[in-house]
Symmetry: C2
Subunit: 423 residues, 2 copies
């Protein structure tokens, strides 16, 4: 690296960080991309890994491999443990300190339990591949426990599943779980009928998929119910333990509760000392820089910004990619002594899958649902999945799952005695 | 289940147990197949998961799914913690006791460290999917540590790999590791040249692949060296710690040591109270029953038996399948009041892969090596891999790996703070 070239450090190899890195490929800067994982994760398909439809490597690609031809970037697998905005350096957990001229923080979000942290023990969330593999293990083991249960109450509790949170992730998980219970596991057990499993989706707000128009939310609810999901709206979960959850005056026995409700920004925002919103996101300037620190940018789910219409920029992959690209452009502008550009979110639409042949699509004037929406969702997701090989394998797995109702990754890992429920 | 039908309990869903279960499909017995995992594992391709070529679910299939159409079998995911041969029952770790009329123990082998158990901390072995994912993590992290190293000695130690044991697993691992270092990771690092990594294979005996004729062993050694592996024979490793290993008077720095040397039988053999050989295997009667317990059989790697030529039956998949089928036949014979049959191992040949386009094949009179042997090995293994879908995905991954030198599963899992190096 030339000592004369400015150094840009990018923390986080998700959509925002990776798209910013790529957009700086032909700029005269030295880039360091830091991530605590070695891979970029295609998060929109994470629920497929959790529900045993895809393998972990199907939806992830090593950052080094993606960027191998981009000569101006060095990839570092490490966790950031300190940021000094004034001295322009960050500390990594491997003991090194990285100086920077420009910094982009794009470490995204994690799940949050509204401050009731012990719920995490009983209701795992879904943000990383490790989360997905742990959840897969938990879901598949529930049917094993039901099969081995010695009494009807125990059996029913193991066959009772609840998903807390009616956003896209909650809807995907509940819909797919119902499909697994009703179709995938058919004829495989001797003491239980998996299709008698109850899958409940609990949303505290008035409707599922609140980001969609009301008609599509209602439509999504009907599609969920057709798949066998019991949908409850307008009631928050008030307690979760190992045996079930509290909803109003009722305690519902359920050995498997999945968390898809609260989201909190990555703690790196707090390390910055910048103004945060309620969810811990950094309240950025319109050009995505941090107030008072023109050389530090925040993008993706970690950034909090309002659109011209007053609504917040949503925490979705297209917004993260657009932010990443704008940060790259603004860094180039700063280097050239020019003015930076304000971020405007270009909304191409919103789509959510619900389960087999069920989805909703909102493209502004064009709204549709059901089978056509599901095909649209599938084509879009395969198209956007990084890497030619991954797309082929994912398509093959889906084709197989579609015709056979089978799921390719129904393997319970982490059986070794001293291992936690992971892998 | 009918109370009049005899109950056959089979412990272990590997090649021996699964083939016995299937061979009893049309018999008037009630079968219970007990395994601590939910899947049958195609162990011959386990090294591909460890070296990031395949995903864990590619080489495993749920036992329930394989057996869903076989009405006389119940699958139980549990660990056996006690065997009472006289009372004819086994205890499971979920608190239940299973009575049996006939019992087949087929729980295979695990790795062993010649009694020096602390070597296990530094030199993991490869027997389960969890082992493979832990090993994958260790191998990939070594290159990350080398990239982040602050001095040349540290860097070299992280780029120094050793595989202990020159049997088929050790040879496969060493050959594939050399390929990863020389080809897969090309151009992906900025501070290190992965192709400078040293991969050493250490065999205590006089030659690698001792089960093959001498000429093929020599040939395998040459193929390994062509791939970039340094082969040492005739010297046992005398010590292993976090920084390297002791060989004669020399301590060789190596942060990554893999164990492919010792194998010990599953501890279930000892629970039986039957005569064991030095490796803990049960010394069975010619009909694979346990001496003094005509209603208990042992098959696969847990069984110790000599062939007519005085050589032991080898611990390979074809032998396990043949044993499993013979136990099924002998149980049927007992039920019909007929005499049992002695086991004879039908040896169709021996093949071992070494790496990209390198393998050795010994079919008795026909012996060959190199590219042709590699293709032969590949076709045989895809053919024997259980499940149509798995074969397609595996073929696709191999086709991709062959042309691109890339490996599909280069994902480091287990990054979550409180997780061990697994997943």
């Amino acid at each position: 690296m030339s000592p004369l070239r400015p150094r840009v450090v990018i923390v986080g190899g998700g959509f925002a960080g990776l798209w910013a890195t790529r957009a700086l490929a032909s700029s005269a800067v030295d880039l360091v991309l830091v991530d605590r994982c070695n891979h970029h994760l295609f998060q929109p398909l994470l629920y497929q890994v959790a529900t045993a439809g895809l393998s972990a490597p199907d939806i992830a690609a090593p950052l080094r491999h993606i960027l191998r031809k981009q000569g101006n970037v060095e990839v570092r697998m490490a966790t950031v443990i300190g940021i000094d905005a004034k001295a322009k350096c960050i500390d990594l957990d491997d003991g090194t300190t990285l100086d920077f001229d420009y910094l982009l923080l794009a470490t995204g979000a994690t799940h949050a339990y509204f401050g009731i942290d012990h719920w995490a023990d009983h209701a795992p969330g879904l943000k990383t591949l490790d989360d997905a593999l742990g959840l897969r293990r938990k879901l598949l083991l529930a049917f094993e426990h039901a099969e081995a249960a010695t009494g009807p109450a125990e059996r029913e509790a193991w066959l009772s599943f609840a998903v807390v949170g009616g956003g896209p992730t909650g809807v995907e998980l509940a819909g797919t779980l119902a499909e697994i219970a009703r179709h995938t596991l058919k004829n495989e057990f001797r003491n239980i009928d998996p299709s008698l499993a109850r899958v409940r989706l609990i949303e505290a707000g008035p409707r599922v998929l609140a980001a969609f128009p009301e008609a599509l939310s209602e439509n999504a609810k009907q599609q969920l119910e057709k798949l066998g999901v019991e949908v409850t709206t307008g009631k928050p979960v008030q307690g979760i333990d190992a045996d079930g959850y509290q909803l109003g005056d009722t305690f519902v026995p359920a050995k498997t509760v999945v968390w898809a409700a609260g989201v909190a920004a990555s703690p790196l925002g707090a390390l910055l000392g910048a103004p945060l919103d309620r969810a811990g996101r950094v309240q950025v300037e319109p050009d995505l820089s941090v107030p008072g620190h023109a050389h530090i940018f925040v993008a993706g789910d970690l950034a909090s910004l309002k659109q011209a219409n007053g609504k917040p920029v949503p925490g979705v992959a297209p917004a993260a990619k657009q932010m990443g690209r704008l940060v790259a452009r603004n860094i180039r502008a700063r280097l050239a002594g020019k003015a930076t550009t304000a971020f405007t979110y270009k909304d191409y639409g919103n789509l959510a899958t619900i389960g087999r042949m069920a989805a909703v699509v909102d493209l502004g004037r064009l709204k549709f649902s059901g089978l056509l929406a599901w095909w649209f969702w599938l084509v879009m997701h395969v198209f956007f999945l990084i890497g030619f090989r991954n797309r082929l394998v994912v398509l093959l797995n889906w084709w197989w799952a579609y015709w056979s109702y089978q799921r390719a990754a129904r393997i319970i890992l982490g059986n070794d005695h001293d291992l936690p429920p992971t892998a």
